[in-house]
Symmetry: C2
Subunit: 144 residues, 2 copies
């Protein structure tokens, strides 16, 4: 047989699911080591890309805005984020990562050993290819 049969769509979907489960397990375990839930760590991850309003956080976290209040409450109580009023719209609050919050999310990422080892097992060209393929298969939606 000159060429192997193409991967069935369902097999690729299944492998994506398996990869997600493995990644999420690694991420959650790393978060727990820092005393964080996966939602809390995910929130810090969003904020590590830049300040966001409560509303923007809800969008990024794919959850209702009412949930963000509690999540940010708990993070703020632990000194990992701050709420600051918007200077231009008194309804809006900006959420910022504190230095301690930035340290926490960095530690979480550095603790994802399974994922890091898996990626490190690929050659540089293969990592580039994976990066490229993921970018095409999961194009990021335009934001705000």
């Amino acid at each position: 047989m000159p060429t192997p049969a193409p991967v069935a769509d369902s097999a690729l979907m299944q492998r994506l699911s398996d990869s997600l489960v493995a990644y999420y397990r690694d991420f959650t375990a790393a978060a727990v080591k820092e005393g964080l839930t996966s939602t809390q760590a995910n929130t810090l991850g969003v904020l590590s890309r830049g300040t966001a309003t409560m509303r923007e956080l809800a969008t990024a976290l794919s959850c209702d805005a009412s949930n963000v209040t509690g999540v940010v409450d708990r993070l703020e109580r632990r000194g990992l984020v701050n709420r600051e009023p918007s200077p231009t719209d008194r309804r809006v609050k900006h959420v910022l990562l504190t230095d301690e919050g930035r340290r926490a999310i960095t530690t979480v990422r550095d603790s994802m050993l399974h994922t890091q080892q898996g990626l490190a097992s690929l050659e540089a060209a293969d990592r580039d290819a994976l990066y490229e393929l993921l970018g095409r298969a999961f194009p990021q939606r335009a934001e705000g």
Copy 2:
């Protein structure tokens, strides 16, 4: 410059995170359309590969065994799974997908349009490459 600079590890981690978030969002939305939580749909997905004991479900779902009782309770109440006693060990219960449960998880998978469209936008050779790279980056652990 003859060759492009290799993708930074942090950039690849970030893209992996973004891609899996997009996948998970699609999966959760598809589950909600079927009246399922993501945990419930994930449980049906595990069972679609074959029967599992309560203990095996806990391992596959990466959660404590005590949680599985409630998750399976709710699925069973809706007729999506059944519990059957093991013929060889009276402590053990096997969880089976019903026809309705199999229909539900199939519908969920068929409803993941964003993911399907993303994958369909790749050529066959690229889908094969993605399948292969994910398999190497996230090798599945040996199971019981």
